[in-house]
């Protein structure tokens, strides 16, 4: 007989949800925890910085910006793994002779007709000897 009364009971809950807004665009991802939302935002910041670095690198690659962005997000999403791989790498590009040698890859490569396959094989033993 009391079932009629029960139906009238309304339970109201206030749920706080966090969304990440970047460049004025609200991302699909919704977080229930502000910490999580902040962490996600930081990851996307890192991705932005990575793609800027890659673009500034002026690499001789045919990846458009959208692909570079996706790769950057992938790398940032796997940040700890990437850091583990790169840990212990010394900065050899700036100060060492090898670095200077390796930098003008573009100018070295251009006259070669089919550099793609040779390159990987060439590099390693070439640097190793002496």
């Amino acid at each position: 007989m009391h079932t009629g009364n029960k139906e009238k009971i309304r339970v109201m809950a206030v749920i706080t949800r966090y969304v990440v807004v970047r460049n004025g665009v609200e991302l699909d991802r919704i977080f229930s925890d502000k910490k999580e939302a902040d962490a996600y935002d930081k990851m996307l910041d890192a991705a932005d910085n990575l793609s800027a670095l890659i673009r500034e690198g002026d690499l001789d690659i045919e990846l458009d910006d959208a692909v570079i962005d996706r790769i950057s997000v992938f790398l940032a999403q796997n940040g700890p793994e990437v850091t583990r791989i790169l840990k212990g790498i010394k900065l050899i590009s700036a100060e060492s002779k090898i670095g200077k040698d390796a930098n003008p890859v573009k100018t070295e490569r251009e006259p070669e007709p089919e550099p793609d396959k040779k390159k990987a094989a060439d590099r390693k033993p070439g640097r190793k000897k002496k």
């Binding site: 991302l27 699909d28 991802r29 962490a39 996600y40 930081k42 990851m43 996307l44 910041d45 890192a46 910085n49 990575l50 670095l53 890659i54 690198g57 690499l59 001789d60 690659i61 045919e62 990846l63 692909v67 996706r70 790769i71 997000v73 992938f74 790398l75 940032a76 999403q77 796997n78 940040g79 700890p80 793994e81 990437v82 850091t83 791989i85 790169l86 840990k87 212990g88 790498i89 010394k90 900065l91 050899i92 590009s93 060492s96 002779k97 090898i98 670095g99 040698d101 390796a102 793609d116 390159k119 990987a120 590099r123 390693k124 070439g126 640097r127 190793k128 000897k129 002496k130």
Partner: protein
């Protein structure tokens, strides 16, 4: 290739190893790119390892892989 110390050669080797690991990781993303671009990019990232680590420092955990 004159004047490269063993130390430098080892460092370079280490960098190339890291580049190979990175290439392997990036391949798992399923993002389509040609082999040459992947190698070029991986080597660039490995050469800039310290910088990349600095950028990724605020990222404390993995997020799996999803295109946002």
């Amino acid at each position: 290739m004159v004047g490269i110390s063993k130390k430098e050669a080892d460092a370079f080797d280490k960098m190339l190893d890291a580049a190979a690991d990175l290439a392997h990781l990036i391949e798992q993303s399923g993002i389509e790119m040609d082999e040459f671009d992947l190698e070029e990019l991986s080597i660039f990232l490995a050469r800039n390892g310290p910088m990349i680590c600095r950028i990724l420092k605020p990222v404390k955990r993995s997020w799996g892989w999803s295109d946002p």
